[in-house]
Each structure stands twice: as C-alpha cells, then as structure tokens.
C-alpha cells in the first residue's frame, strides 16, 4: 500500500480506538443545536431564519473543541519530533493528518446536519446547499484550526489561545457558509457564496499546510 494512504488509514484507526472521545464533538454539536429551540421561541419563522447561523457557529465550535488534542498526543509521545526530522514531506503528512482529523470530527457533523435542519425547522430545500457548504467550510476550518494548534503546541492551557488565533481568521468562512444556506433557503442563487467558499477552501488547503509545518518546526527549535 502507498505509505501515505497507510499513514492516513493508521491515523483513522487510532481515532477509532479512542472513538468515545472522538465522538464528543458530535454530541456537543447536537446538544448545542438542541438548546436553541428551547431558549428561543420554537414556533414561527425566527428559528428557521436563524438556523443557518446556528448550525454554522455550532459546527465551528465543534471543530474548535477537538483542536487542542489534534497534535497534543503526537507531541507528548515524541511522534511529532520524528515527523519534523523525517526524510519525507512534512507538509504532506500534515495534510493527511488534518484530513483524518476532519474525517473523524467533521464528517459525522455533516451526516447529522439533516437532523438539525429538522429540529430548527430550516426549509428542506436548502439542505443540499447547507451540506455542500458545510463540507467546504469544515475542511477549511480544520486546516485553520490546525494552524492554531500547531502554533500553540508547546504551551500549556492552549485552548483559549487557539480560540483567539482561530476565530477571527475563520470569520469569512462563517459569513460565506451561513449565507449560502440563507440564500438557498430564500430560493435565491447560492452559487456566489459557494464559489467564494470553494476559493477559500483551495487557498487554505494550498497554503496552510506549509504554515502548519513551519509552526511545528519552530515549536521544536528551542
């Protein structure tokens, strides 16, 4: 098997072995979404109109929740330092690592999003666009978040710092993402928003692994 695919599969296998912990973002995602109808008026259009915003902010928080432990174990077990001095590409390894992180934390969110759409009485015709947007957006968010995690790798209690680094940078994704769903729900053309989201997706996947690699190297330099 191709060593990169083997690496990817092994990473997924490791997550599967600690699935109880890895499933937490999914539970979090559902609970937060479930709180909104309870705290707002569950009837009427208010909830439906807020649904895209709720789902997107919720998804971002769920991604954020897993970030601190993204590199933490590999760092403590001395795996990451072997990555840095490996003769193979660090950037590619980071790419596969984040891809496996996405598969484990965000793909389940995508799969339960129809449930949330029902809870929040979001019009079903917007579901497809919402999911496409969530796909593009969560991948981008995972990479940006991974950068925050890599920059704060050697710091203790880093989650608040990750939030400060990650959330402002992530705002454009939330804006485009949530509004693609808003447009779809209003039966307007959501494509501009999706194209913008896709542009950010490619930009991030192209640039951010380099930045993450540099951040990891720096973390070990001292």
């Amino acid at each position: 098997m191709n060593p990169w695919l083997f690496f990817f599969r092994t990473e997924l296998g490791i997550s599967w072995r600690e699935r109880r912990r890895v499933m937490l973002p999914l539970v979090f995602f559902s609970i937060v979404a479930f709180l909104f109808p309870l705290t707002l008026n569950p009837k009427g259009h208010l909830l439906a109109r807020m649904a895209p915003g709720i789902i997107w902010v919720d998804a971002m928080l769920a991604v954020f929740l897993g970030l601190e432990s993204l590199f933490r174990h590999d760092h403590e077990e001395g795996i990451l330092e072997q990555w840095v001095i490996s003769p193979t590409s660090l950037e590619l390894r980071v790419l596969f690592k984040v891809a496996s992180f996405w598969t484990v934390t965000s793909l389940p969110l995508l799969l339960v999003s129809p449930l949330l759409v029902l809870w929040l009485s979001f019009p079903l015709r917007g579901l497809g666009i919402l999911m496409v947007g969530l796909f593009l957006g969560t991948v981008t968010l995972c990479f940006l978040g991974a950068l925050g995690a890599a920059l704060t790798l050697t710091l203790r209690q880093s989650s608040m710092l990750i939030a400060i680094l990650f959330l402002p940078i992530a705002t454009p994704i939330l804006i485009f993402g949530a509004h693609s769903a808003v447009l779809a729900a209003r039966q307007l053309d959501p494509r501009p928003a999706l194209y913008l989201l896709a542009t950010l997706f490619f930009l991030t996947v192209g640039i951010v692994p380099k930045a993450i690699s540099a951040a990891l190297r720096i973390s070990y330099e001292t």
Binding site: M1, P3, W4, F6, F7, T10, G13, I14, R17, E18, H73, D74, E76, E77, G78, I79, E81, Q82, W83, V84, I85, S86, P87, T88, R217, Y220, E221, T222
Partner: protein, 215 residues
C-alpha cells in the same frame, strides 16, 4: 585545522544555548565510520540540545557541521534525515498502536515501503515477539524502550543519535542493545550517545565530549 576530506560527521566551533543561556562554546569533534562518541555531563549541560541540533530539530546558530567534508544544515537536508536516526527521551511510540503497527507507521516516516521482514527481525532481536500485538500503552517502560530500539534495528541508518538509550532496560536488554550497537559499528555506522554512566566497559568510544564545564 586542516580541511582534509575527513570521512564521517564533523562539527566545528558549535555553540550550544538553551534560551539565552550559553551552555557550551567552540565545541568541535569528529565521528568517523565505525566509531562512536560518548556525550557526558551533568543534567542540563546540553547533551540533548547537541543531539537535537545534529538531528535537525534544534537550530544551529553558530558553527558548522560537515558530512564527509561537506558542510550542510542539519535542519534542511533531507538526505541527512534519511541517514540519521534520532532517539530522544520519549520513545516515539503511539500508545494506542501495537509494537508492530508502530514500526510500520515509522516506516512511512522513513519513506520505506512496508518492510515487513526487517520489522519482524527487529522485534525478534529485542525479544518482543510475544508482545508485538500488544498495544504500547500496556507495555512496561523497559519494553517500550526495547520497542524503540527495535526501530533502530528495522531501519538501518549510518548515524545514530541516542539520548540515554539504555534507560529502563534490564540487564539482558542492555546486552542485546550493545550487541546490536557493535554490529552497527562493524558495518561502518557512527553514533553519538548521551549517557550518564560510561559505556566503555561495553564498547570503547573513540572519544568523549564532556559538556558542562564552564564555557
């Protein structure tokens, strides 16, 4: 100093720092094929710092490093990473994977296409056959160390940078390690070994780098 085409690894006028503190100044040494150097000194004297710089983790601020007479930057050269194996304080094993899975994962780091035979030999050499399916979290410290050393066996490299390799090993483990080490040197391998107790009674080092004298 003559600039002859010396074989092996040579360091000239290195400076070691931790943060701002200067640990050692104008450190020069040569390791030739088939030989190894012992790194000694009290805790915090810069043994690990030196190994990390040579491995390409730490940054080389002052001084030069040569391989077979050619200067290079340990942080940047991929071919240096390919010829070097670094074993630090941590064993570099994923706790949720078994020894064999760990070695296979390490193979992807070395860019080697699933070397099943070598992995089995390494596991066998360090007497871990009966444990190779056990998840590393369940192993004792000594067993984990053996697994880490099995990595050296499965993935040969010409330069070993070892930070206290015999920590937590039992007598038999130490003996296995040194017979492995002897083999490595006989094949023309080199090593720098940071240690607290002299290794001379096992294999005589070509020299000693004593750190921790006031710079």
């Amino acid at each position: 100093m003559s600039k002859g085409p010396s074989l092996g690894l040579e360091a000239r006028a290195l400076e070691l720092r931790r943060g701002r503190r200067l640990l050692a100044r104008s450190l020069s040494f040569t390791v030739e094929p088939g030989n190894y150097l012992e790194l000694t000194g009290p805790n915090g004297s810069g043994k690990s710092t030196l190994l990390r710089i040579l491995a390409g983790l730490g940054r080389l601020e002052t001084g030069d490093v040569f391989w077979n007479g050619t200067a290079f930057n340990p942080q940047k050269e991929e071919c240096h990473h390919a010829r070097t194996l670094y074993l630090g304080h941590t064993d570099g094993l994923k706790g949720l994977l078994s020894i064999r899975e760990n070695l296979r994962l390490f193979g992807t780091l070395r860019g080697i296409h699933d070397p099943v035979d070598e992995i089995e030999k390494g596991i066998g050499f360090y007497g871990l056959q009966h444990l190779k399916q056990v998840v590393c979290d369940r192993l004792s410290q000594g067993q984990r160390r053996r697994a880490a050393l099995a990595r050296l066996h499965a993935f040969p490299a010409s330069l070993w940078l070892l930070d206290e390799p015999t920590t937590a090993l039992d007598r038999e483990g130490v003996e296995r390690f040194f017979s492995h080490f002897r083999l490595h040197l006989e094949r023309g391998g080199m090593a720098l070994v940071a240690t607290h107790q002299s290794l001379a009674r096992w294999i005589t080092p070509a020299g000693e780098i004593a750190l921790g004298r006031s710079p």
